[in-house]
């Protein structure tokens, strides 16, 4: 091959390869620019709002989990009963319901005249079809208590649906109010074999919104469902922009591209502070949606003595820590569950910060400071613990460091270990930890899910409590409370359980976690949903432009 020839063929090769790459790069351009200009036009319309979300909204299948986002599922699909403020259960797709005396038979009168967004009627038939599909994949949903006790479901008549439980379980209605899986897909969405776990055909629901346009990882546009049975939303359209980065989210909001940033941990504490101080925007905090607790693992011999656990709880200034670390975004917690759940409005005596008492308790428990030493000892063992935390969570890290510093004053040594979340959960389940930051589930899952994990092994909480002298009675009380059909009895049991847990100081309440909402003044009314997973658009009003 001559030099000239070689040069030419090389040139051809290079050009071809580059062309391939360029074509690959440009092939998708056309449709993406078309769609983005579409979403741009829509954003300009006055009766619409734009919100950001860190992850793609997912497949919008009402009966599956990842990657679907709860808030978006709740815009399209509705429950039979809806969880409202302070745990009140209100009619949604079920107009009313009756519960048999033995607590096993639930009969729902379905709301008449409800239609799916495609115009097909909502009736007992479709309710049963959804229940059947959900129960095909029983195992996947086994975390939800109702799944374990659901026996038979039947269509009584067109607008009456009945389900029979194998044993009484009081939180049935709470379980039915959660965002997934017990929400209702229209017939058009079902695959031919009726099993929705592998996918649905179209996301058809009865909710106020329907998915109008969607591009994975970029945006989703929801439009009003013309067939919605309830009060129609005050605006026509919601655009959800997928913005994974918290700082970018704030910049997009400041530019005016976003009307609302909503959720838990959606923006950094600094950014929230900064936006809160700006009069151009409105910032709000919700009621507590969950509690950040510190588990003191009583199955560790050093922590099996209640005096040590109490001393540790008294030995750090919780109020100062929570306010300092979260800049007021979280509220110091005195009890493991806040009082805005059913049955939790109980008077419990807080364990107050008191370093002197704490030191005295440790002395009393036999943990003494050796002469010239900084760490307490007993029988040749040092009072030393490992605190594991999620290394991606700056709040856990800062709190861990504060606790480490304050307890060192008491003569207690803490070693901090940052872990990946999955590893952390694995160690919790394996009961392989001393100190652990744990969160309860929030509404509508609590308080029943909370007491359930207190008694049921496999979640790490029951294991943490094994050295409590009254653990067996506690478990019995939990089982009695969950199956109790007598409201008064149930409250008594809850009071007793919560009091025991408070006194035993193995679940140390740290702070109440709240949701944040920052929005433009264009939104004149904003209401936080009572159900932690629901969308925030119900009750939202826009000011007239």
């Amino acid at each position: 091959m001559s030099v000239q020839q070689r040069k030419r063929s090389t040139l051809i090769m290079i050009t071809t390869l580059l062309l391939v790459l360029i074509i690959a790069g440009c092939s998708n351009k056309e449709n993406s620019s078309a769609s983005s200009s579409a979403s741009g036009d829509q954003a300009a319309s006055a009766k619409s709002i734009t919100m950001s979300w860190p992850r793609d909204i997912g497949t919008m299948n009402p009966h599956t989990y990842n990657p679907s986002q709860l808030f978006a599922q709740s815009m399209i699909y509705e429950p039979l009963v809806s969880y409202q403020k302070d745990g009140k259960l209100e009619p949604a797709l079920a107009e009313s319901w009756t519960i048999s005396d033995d607590g096993k038979v639930y009969t729902f009168k379905l709301r008449q005249g409800v239609k799916f967004s495609d115009g097909t009627p909502f009736n007992a038939e479709i309710v049963k079809k959804n229940f059947d599909s959900i129960m095909i994949n029983k195992k996947t949903h086994s975390w939800l208590g109702i799944i374990g006790v659901l026996g038979k479901t039947e269509v009584v008549d067109d607008h009456t649906f009945r389900m029979t439980l194998t044993e009484p379980y009081y939180p049935v209605l709470q379980d039915l109010s959660v965002v997934r899986p017990f929400r209702f897909l229209g017939a058009a969405g079902f695959p031919d074999d009726g099993d929705t776990s592998k996918g649905i055909k179209v996301p058809v629901g009865t909710g106020p919104w329907m998915l109008a346009d969607y591009k994975q990882d970029e945006y989703a546009v929801f439009k009003r469902n013309p067939n919605y049975w309830g009060t129609a939303p005050a605006f026509d359209q919601i655009t959800v922009k997928i913005i994974p980065d918290a700082e970018t989210r704030v910049l997009a909001f400041e530019k005016g591209d976003l009307d609302l940033i909503y959720g838990e941990g959606m923006i950094s504490l600094d950014a929230f502070q900064q936006l809160r101080e700006n009069d151009k925007y409105v910032s709000e905090l919700s009621d507590p949606v969950g509690t950040r607790d510190l588990l003191l693992n009583s199955s560790n011999p050093k922590l099996s003595d209640v005096r040590v656990r109490k001393a540790l709880q008294q030995g750090f200034n919780k109020k100062a820590m929570v306010e300092g670390v979260t800049s007021g975004l979280e509220e110091p917690a005195d009890t493991a569950l806040s009082k805005n759940y059913p049955y939790t409005n109980v008077d419990l005596k807080p364990i107050e910060y008191n370093v002197e008492q704490s030191k005295a308790l440790l002395d009393e428990a036999g943990w003494k400071l050796p002469a010239g030493g900084t760490v307490r000892e007993k029988d040749g063992q040092k009072l030393e613990f490992e605190l594991i935390f999620d290394k991606t969570d700056p709040i856990q890290k800062a709190m861990g460091e504060t606790i480490q510093a304050e307890w060192s004053e008491l003569g207690v040594k803490v070693n901090l270990t940052g872990l990946e979340l999955t590893v952390q959960i694995k160690r919790l389940k394996a009961n392989d930890f001393d100190l652990y930051f744990w969160y309860n589930y929030g509404a509508p899952y609590d308080p029943h899910s909370f007491i359930n994990v207190v008694a049921s092994p496999g979640f790490g909480i029951s294991e943490t409590l094994t050295a409590l002298p009254m653990k067996k009675e506690l478990d019995e009380q939990v089982h009695a409370a969950l199956s109790s059909t007598d409201e008064k009895k149930r409250q008594e049991l809850y009071t007793s359980i919560l009091t025991t847990l408070q006194e035993q100081s193995a679940i140390v309440p740290i702070s109440y976690v709240k949701k944040t909402a920052v929005y433009q003044k264009k939104i004149s009314k904003f209401v936080f949903p009572a159900n932690r997973d629901e969308n925030p658009f119900v009750g939202m009003q826009l000011s007239n432009p």
Partner: protein, 314 residues
């Protein structure tokens, strides 16, 4: 020539083999179980029964060797399976993400070449002049500023304060400007200095002196002779960068909400989405090899000294 390219392409096989083996090993050394990661991400409590079911579904309960052989077989047929997370075919998702990344990579390479080639040459020719100072300042700035910070600064000034450009997202050309600038900055910093140095080196060579004594004009010496040789390391560098950019620019994709390949991969790592990770590793290996090949071919074309015997027959 064709034979040479063919040989180089065949080299993909052992490289991919090693890459998949290493990836497979790393995934299984990691203490996180993919089934567990899946459930955690879905906010489902990983009970033992559920875990067992998920492991079975993902085929993770089979012996390691079987799993690996199966993976190899599928990759050989270019079948990458379905994502654990989204339950969609991995290849479809990649087809969706890759163009976004390629678009950004090509524009960034183009833009950095357009800026750094003239700037590098001018900085060498007019050494220690104001233009050299400017290029030096740009290089210090570009090389030392963290990419995410530069991204935020650009958004703050050009999108929020001046309102000239969009903050984030992909769509029109306007969306491309800021991410391209952010990505190019570090390349411009590097390549301008690189080119300046190699041009200065060449200017010291005897052939330049000789050409000058022959009375050839400076411009001709520069463009026809010096640049041809001086640009070789620049091309090598660009080629490698190209490979890197095409496999995703995680930080920029994150800051600008660019729906690209890098973000997709990072998410897959956190979720231990093995099919996605394997597909990514495969594509990355191929991309790097192809980019290297392009670099070699360009050099072959530019510098006949390399080609005569050595490399082509290698």
């Amino acid at each position: 020539m064709i034979g040479y390219i063919g040989k180089r392409m065949i080299a993909i096989i052992p490289i991919v083999f090693i890459a998949t083996l290493v990836t497979f090993g790393l995934i299984h050394i990691s203490p996180v179980d993919p089934a567990e990661a899946y459930l955690t991400a879905a906010h489902i409590y990983p009970t033992p029964e559920l875990l067992a079911e998920k492991r079975h579904e993902f085929g993770l309960d089979r012996p390691l060797l079987t799993q690996y052989v199966d993976t190899l077989k599928r990759i050989a047929q270019l079948d990458f399976g379905t994502s654990y997370l989204t339950n969609k075919p991995v290849i479809d998702e990649v087809k969706d993400k890759f163009p976004a990344t390629a678009e950004l990579a090509l524009w960034s390479i183009l833009f950095s070449a357009l800026v750094s080639i003239p700037l590098g040459i001018l900085a060498a020719v007019y050494k220690n002049s104001w233009i050299d100072m400017v290029s030096r300042a740009i290089s210090y700035f570009g090389a030392s500023i963290p990419q995410f910070w530069l991204g935020y600064l650009l958004i703050f000034f050009f999108a929020v304060k001046l309102d000239w450009l969009p903050v984030e997202g992909r769509g029109s050309w306007e969306n491309l400007v800021l991410p391209t600038l952010t990505l190019s900055m570090v390349m411009i910093a590097l390549y301008t200095r690189m080119l300046r140095t190699s041009v200065l080196e060449q200017l010291q060579e005897a052939y330049v002196q000789y050409a000058r004594t022959r009375g050839i004009r400076e411009r001709v010496i520069m463009l026809k002779h010096v640049l041809k040789i001086a640009i070789t390391p620049f091309i090598t560098g660009m080629g490698m960068t190209m490979g890197r950019l095409l496999t995703g620019t995680i930080i920029v994709e994150q800051v600008f909400s660019w729906p690209g390949f890098g973000r997709y991969f990072v998410e897959a790592i956190f979720n231990r989405d093995i099919p996605v990770i394997q597909c990514y590793v495969f594509i990355s290996a191929c991309l790097f090899i192809v980019c290297n090949l392009i670099v070699d071919l360009v050099q072959l074309y530019m510098d006949p000294r390399i080609s005569a015997k050595g490399r082509a027959e290698h």
